[in-house]
């Protein structure tokens, strides 16, 4: 170690941070919130599932409701297109998330992956999906952030065309959603959660930038 590195290491022993009582204070907080917290988390997933079903039903019943639903999801400004013949660039190593309200389709190992950035939180309305009997939603950790993995298909993705009409398209892609503050990120197209998380991890998409 250089002299400077040693001087930094010395700080570990002298920084004025108080450890006493930390374990007990965390235990007390968990005691206060554990039962209600677990119920809240479970209820949140139930609400997501319920919301999804309600939206799916509304969309199926009345085409006009699609526009309303699109507004709920902040998709009015988003144009998402899929074209099998499109020559897509491979995801660069330094790939950055699209801006708020934007989506981007990239190719990762021969697959089309859609990445979106949405204003919202997992506690509120999220992307609508039609749930089949095999569809599941599980809570996951995405680089330290709360996330949901929605898999099992079939899904429907809503998008707005260039003439302003809203289209619901059936896609088979599984979806990873995760929230950072008030922003919700959405990654669709990976076969399994491990690949999606690996993509997020290797490109530091889950990292909070300063």
């Amino acid at each position: 170690m250089t002299n400077l590195e040693v001087r930094l290491a010395d700080l570990a022993h002298v920084l004025d941070v108080e450890e006493a009582g930390l374990v007990d204070s965390i235990a007390a907080r968990l005691d206060r919130s554990s039962s209600s917290g677990e119920r809240r988390a479970h209820r949140r997933l139930q609400m997501v599932a319920l919301f999804v079903l309600i939206v799916a039903a509304a969309v199926a019943l009345h085409p006009d409701s699609r526009r309303v639903v699109a507004r709920w999801f902040g998709l009015n400004q988003v144009r998402i297109e899929r074209d099998a013949d499109l020559d897509l660039p491979s995801a660069p190593v330094t790939f950055e998330l699209p801006g708020l309200g934007e989506s981007q389709i990239i190719e990762v190992n021969g697959r089309q992956i859609m990445v979106s950035t949405i204003y919202g939180r997992l506690g509120g309305p999220i992307m609508q999906k039609t749930l089949g009997s095999s569809t599941s939603i599980i809570e996951v950790d995405v680089a330290g952030h709360l996330g949901l993995w929605i898999n099992g298909a079939p899904h429907e993705v809503m998008y707005e065309t260039s003439d302003g009409s809203v289209v619901v398209e059936r896609v088979a892609g599984n979806t990873l959603l995760w929230e950072v503050g008030d922003v919700l990120y959405r990654l669709e197209g990976f076969d399994n959660l491990d690949d999606a998380l690996k993509f997020v991890g290797t490109r530091a998409l889950g990292a909070v930038s300063d």
Binding site: L11, V17, V23, L30, S33
Partner: protein, 192 residues
């Protein structure tokens, strides 16, 4: 909260028990990693005063996310990554709130009674802590993980969620910046 056999369990075993709502097992995980967690939080947030609150919030969040740990890295790295993310978010919210109006205390060093030599050493520590606190977040976090908490490059990469190569390059740059910052402080001291 502590039981003798828990101290002999490895982190993976403790995590498995904690997932089954074994609160003492989770307490042992917290006890085991609180030292590193507090220093990660202090250096990243730039505030020893706020470190304890950050770690408390982060570890409550860790408890909530126990089932989402996927075993791709060590339990310790995963826990410290949650702490690091909380500390970064804390900095961001503080910047939004007060635009760094300098009311947070910064990185403080314990000043205890002792010999003259110990007092000089503490002042030396304080100069380094203050210089570290003046660096940018990206520089602080990598120096904090690598040297204050003494993580390996690989573990630092896991905690900060960046490639190992990035850790190497950032460390080199951050050390150079810290050296400049210390020289600037010494020069200022000489002219005052």
């Amino acid at each position: 909260m502590r039981s003798t056999d828990l101290t002999e369990c490895d982190d993976d075993s403790l995590l498995a028990r904690a997932r089954k709502d074994d609160r003492p097992a989770f307490g042992e995980l917290v006890r085991r990693h609180q030292h590193s967690a507090l220093r990660v939080a202090a250096v990243i947030s730039g505030s020893t005063e706020e470190a304890k609150d950050i770690v408390q919030d982060a570890f409550v969040n860790v408890h909530r996310k126990l089932n989402s740990y996927r075993g791709t890295g060590s339990v310790r790295s995963w826990m410290l990554r949650v702490v690091a993310n909380h500390a970064k978010n804390h900095v961001r919210s503080r910047i939004r709130r007060i635009r760094r109006e300098d009311h947070h205390a910064g990185l403080l060093v314990r000043m205890e009674d002792g010999t003259e030599q110990q007092a000089v050493q503490r002042l030396e520590n304080l100069v380094v802590a203050e210089a570290l606190g003046r660096l940018q977040l990206k520089d602080r976090e990598v120096l904090g993980c690598r040297f204050v908490v003494e993580m390996s490059e690989a573990e630092t990469a896991e905690v900060l969620n960046v490639p190992v190569g990035t850790v190497k390059s950032r460390t080199s740059r951050a050390l150079a910046k810290l050296q400049s910052e210390l020289e600037r402080a010494e020069s200022k001291e000489e002219h005052s």
